[in-house]
Symmetry: D4
Subunit: 152 residues, 8 copies
């Protein structure tokens, strides 16, 4: 068994790197959005031409980013969605809903303080984790049936 | 042509009532989540028994609410998602993603100040409106081909 | 909103009648398997001719019953699966798996003693209930947003 | 032609090993659930934290196991479901129903004494076998058109 | 429960009339192909203009007939396919394959002499009947759980 | 049998009226795009606000129109696509492709001079007609098995 | 581009070999049913045990063969169905219907004398060929855009 | 991440070559229709035999071409549709509609003068480009998150 895992959500901390590093040696292919915030915001106008209105500037960019996101979400077996401390992060929740409707296995990754606000998303998930290390343990268990040492 | 329209998102203002009142006489059947905030939060434990942990209290409730939401989203032709000024509203964004993945026509309803934060959701929508009255006009145009007076 | 609810599983107690009676007045259409045990066992040979072998006797009957079950499961919005105290009830679990794969909302109804043995099915459900009355309360809440009195 | 075969059900005898050994040289990739009973029961709390209630202890574990099961069932061409002599084995029947709804080719493997209780599941299957050796013969015939020697 | 039943295949005897008459009072809506042989053969050129080549004459007709057949097959819950004594009846077998791929419940209706030649189609069916009366009994049992009198 | 028929394409002649008038008494529900050319072009800005750029003016309108078109195409059993003498009519061809991918029965309606340019679309259709009267005859034959008088 | 091509139908002449030989060097993977007639007829009882009744003898065999057929049909891009001069060949027509419902590209291969009897199946096909050499030319053209020499 | 990209539409300029050359080194597999205009027009009769009527000549060819087109469109992640200055190009618009209904990411490539006539297709796209170089930049950004130099 091999797994395609999409890492959605927050792009300001190194949680993706932690998971990818922790999962070395496992049969996992990771994907994720473009995490260069400026490139992600400006890609539409950088490639397809300037816009006067901020709305259309953003619109062109969001649509370009959707090409990558839709492809990766559709190919994924498991979608991990991370909610951080800052910003609205509505696109993270949107990706979670998109993944849920496609029947993907969902892992939500967030701190305890967001528990109530994320209850609908957690309810659609197969796991709710607090740390990247737990996500790695889930992937290892799913692929190899192996639990973290000392856990029993 | 008849339309099923699901009204997702913010539950603290009367935007649903405005749309339903404005659409009187149109061939639209509206649905929406349970908007009694306390009932929505506590339904799980009220029916299925108390939980010590807040997480499971919320979990049981969120799952019960999902029965209604999934049914109504699946039956909908058009999903209107309203983002208000307060709270995280991650479930609104989750519903939008869910609806998008099902290929539903999406109308996003929000103020100008949320424009940048909602750009991915707006990019998946067929319309971005600022007022309930605009949503009514869209429904009327879609069903009857009629534009608001004075608009030409 | 109207709901189609399929009542799967145990056929030796009156739980279906309790739910149907309790849900009177709600916009629910119920369906279920043939609950006449003898007819259900013998329908195949009664209509299509005797079999020497018990295996084919059962086979013909099970296939006839599948016409009703598949139709009703496919049309259902919510599938309630009841596990009783007796018998193997593998067809109840089969129906639960079938419903889960179709994305139906699943309510599992069983006593506390079966909790461990049913954990995989409970994990696929949106609600785990112990009494028919709770199922009625779930249907009422889903349709009308109304919680049982005294529950708050 | 290559086949993905998921081996569902009973985890207390070596039937999986027998099939895998017998199928050596055939173009088959096998998958199955985690068969370490203790790990399978405790994985949820071992990775995601302790639960007071047995129900939630089991719930977290069952959901983690579902990540592997759903992925493997979805990827499978053929699902073999084994029913043994002990335990309720409702998750085996659940997997059979799930596989049937996805249109997978189903092989049920059980002793003659379970024939009546499994009639609905047998009726949804393309083969009902009594021994692992028969399953191997089915796989060989399906892939290479070759029948067991002496069978004619 | 209501059933849509498509009556496919042989058009030279009154088996459809027998089933429809026998099913009076049951919640069944029947559909079928155009059974006027001449109209069915010539509809394409009669409406869309003459063809020199018999192949294209037939082609235009077969495509027009497909509009009705595809609609009715797609809407059907149960497809009854009747094989008679004469002609090739490849379109009957084609309809059976089409219905099977759509997951419809299939009832095959044929005499004992065709048993070997129809074994693949019978194997995809939920019932193999010899008489229209048996089809009626299946529909009655499926809808009302009632077996033919004297059958027990 | 009842049919939903979507009338796509050219909006400058009265072909829709001819078909609807001719089909009176048949069990057909017709739908079509908004045929008020000015309203169709300007609906986006009339409801959702002015745009400086012609591209976004058109974009907002085309998306609003898509709500009606997608709903009606999705609900249709048969899609009639009319190509007239003027304009590019790329949206007609787009609707034809959309309908073909959804597996709808396609009738293409065009004059002989467009035969070569429309060959890919004709090849995806179940009928190629030249007049609205022929479309009516197809609908009548499909529903009632009746050919035009004098056609034999 | 690579193609999976399933070669369905008649098993008494060497048409499969001709196509496979002719297509050497093309990016095509061929599959087909078990063409050993005796093995195909007896596989069920040879592996799963004797049956008294010819019907169940055939039934068990047809179901085993369905594992291979369904897998190969589902994986195919193009399905070639050959109708020969002898036998009923209802399973060939069944496979054609199954493939059509899955949206596969269909090539029908038959002599001119079967033209009228196969008109519904030809109407569902993208090509009707008379010789294996034509099938090879279609595959070559589809993959490499190359027409047979001297054909212009 | 790897991308399958189908290049649909205009076949008289070298835009496909420009994109393929520009995308060298990227993880993209390109496909497209047969671009030899004469072969594409005559393939049907060249392989399957002459037709008297131009309509059937074209019909046979269009259907053969559909085998390649449908396969490639179905396998594609991204569909680029180019509209040139000449001809009706209805098949380009048909491919766009087909791709949109399948949920493919759509890039439309056309000059500013076609903006109004293509507004419905542009509205269904994730990007509207004017040059092949922009398409290459979109593919590079989607795969590697890299914007064209100097674009910021």
């Amino acid at each position: 068994m091999k797994l395609n895992v999409y890492l959605a959500g927050e792009i300001h901390t190194d949680w993706r790197d932690q998971i990818i590093a922790g999962a070395q040696g496992l049969a996992v292919t990771f994907s994720g959005p473009v995490t260069d915030h400026a490139a992600s915001d400006d890609c539409g106008v950088a490639i397809l031409g300037r816009e006067e209105q901020k709305f259309w500037h953003d619109h062109k960019g969001a649509k370009l980013n959707a090409m990558r996101t839709r492809k990766a979400l559709t190919d994924a077996d498991i979608v991990v969605v991370r909610f951080g401390e800052q910003y609205r992060q509505w696109n993270a929740a949107f990706d979670a809903g998109f993944a849920a409707a496609l029947g993907k296995s969902l892992i939500v990754l967030h701190g305890a303080d967001h528990q109530h606000a994320l209850k609908e998303i957690d309810a659609a998930a197969l796991a709710v984790a607090e740390t990247p290390a737990q996500v790695v343990q889930i992937l290892r268990y799913t692929l190899e049936g192996e639990l973290p040492q000392g856990s029993a």
